[in-house]
Symmetry: C2
DNA sequence: TCAAAAGTGTTAGATTTACACCCATGA
DNA sequence: TCATGGGTGTAAATCTAACACTTTTGA
């Protein structure tokens, strides 16, 4: 295939914005860069794309190595290709965001990798163009959450309506009216009330809800 | 930089979905592939990303080579990286869409490159994953046109409200009510009526409008 | 004179927003 | 008993959608 040979190859990496939700706050996982250039700077977690893996596969691999989780929800944010975005070599990077349930993620693994959860509203300066990736990811997630039930990726299987509302508010960055919010949820038949009561957050107790994926797929997915 | 060296490099290309609007139809530019593999198949136009150019620069270069135009409106669609998406070698491609005013594009250049305008609703089977790129591009453009004034990239500087409506309908793939549409346009102060009358389309003549970019940037852009 | 496209308002329905009080319980 | 979070409905305002006739003029 001599045609291809005339052109130059580049390194391609993936960088992942891992979102989690905890105590009413939307957070992302970042760590101190372990390698030069930029050693010690805050950075997204990433990895190079191997010759025999797709971009999605590479991202899954990176996520799995980091969290031990599989089938994590993820969406591509876009490709970042400024010539000098990486101070070392020419590297084109494809950003993804991923949503995980914080309690599925072992604290042990987190600290082994030297990762920290930081509030999306207080992300420090990150390596290279990673701050741009983060803000694009957030923008896309906001868009997505309006039309698809992705909240459930960030919550435990059972959750209260208050938790769901706090999550929505954290993603959108604005408060919403409790009654209007609950009215909207009532119209979504794929969010099911269970008989269970959560007593952790209040003395009275709050009904626990669950996302019925099958109902959603059968009746609501377009 | 030994660190990078452990990993493999890949070819990266850009592929462009060039949208144009003509005779009430939204179209894209495609051509017969001139090279193996896939010689003769319908394909998007693209090019490899050079060592010293960003993804945006590469796309601009490709667009300029094809149309002679500069400062063309373009947006990234995303990165496509299946291992076997290109039957020849491993190539990761970043898709962009671009909007051009058909009358700015010389027929001569078009035919020299062997390109054809095809109706977005009748795109033939394209090389590799190009059909997926096209449908993602359309989806993104639909989203964009709702919140940003990109229609003007597809229209001549002066246009009638009927043209603007036909364009909107072609992009959205559905008809809209004429009176409601015109009501909405009236609220957009950056779409200015001129004193000029177009007589090409009707005996009575239709008022020509113009997009006031400065007004938009100053007062409407967020 | 008539065909063809331009232009123009009103009303009903749907959606969205604002808003305040009682309930249950554990400490 | 009281502080805390859970739970509930209504009315006004805004936005969206439906709808039909008159105007101009070149052929």
């Amino acid at each position: 295939m001599t045609f291809y040979k005339e052109h130059s190859k580049v390194w391609v990496s993936v960088d992942v914005i891992i979102f989690g939700f905890d105590e009413s706050k939307l957070k992302i996982l970042i760590g101190r860069r372990q390698m030069d250039p930029g050693r010690g700077e805050w950075s997204l977690y990433g990895g190079f794309v191997g010759a025999d893996e797709s971009l999605d596969t590479a991202t899954s691999r990176v996520l799995n190595g980091l969290t031990g989780l599989r089938n994590v929800y993820m969406q591509q944010v876009g490709a970042f290709g400024s010539v000098d975005r990486d101070p070392g070599e020419r590297v084109i990077s494809v950003a993804y965001y991923a949503l995980i349930n914080v309690s599925d993620y072992s604290e042990k693994l987190r600290s082994e990798h030297g990762l920290e959860w930081v509030d999306i509203n207080h992300v420090p300066t990150l390596y290279s163009d990673h701050n741009v990736m983060v803000s694009m990811a957030l923008k896309m997630m906001r868009q997505k959450i309006k039309t698809e039930p992705i909240s459930f990726r960030l919550l435990p299987q059972l959750f209260t309506l208050t938790q769901l509302q706090r999550l929505y508010e954290a993603v959108m960055g604005e408060e919403v009216d409790k009654r209007n919010f609950r009215k909207r949820i009532k119209d979504m038949d794929f969010i099911e009330k269970t008989e269970l009561i959560d007593k952790k957050m209040s003395k009275r107790g709050a009904a626990l809800y669950r996302f019925n994926r099958k109902m959603y797929n059968d009746n609501f997915k377009l």
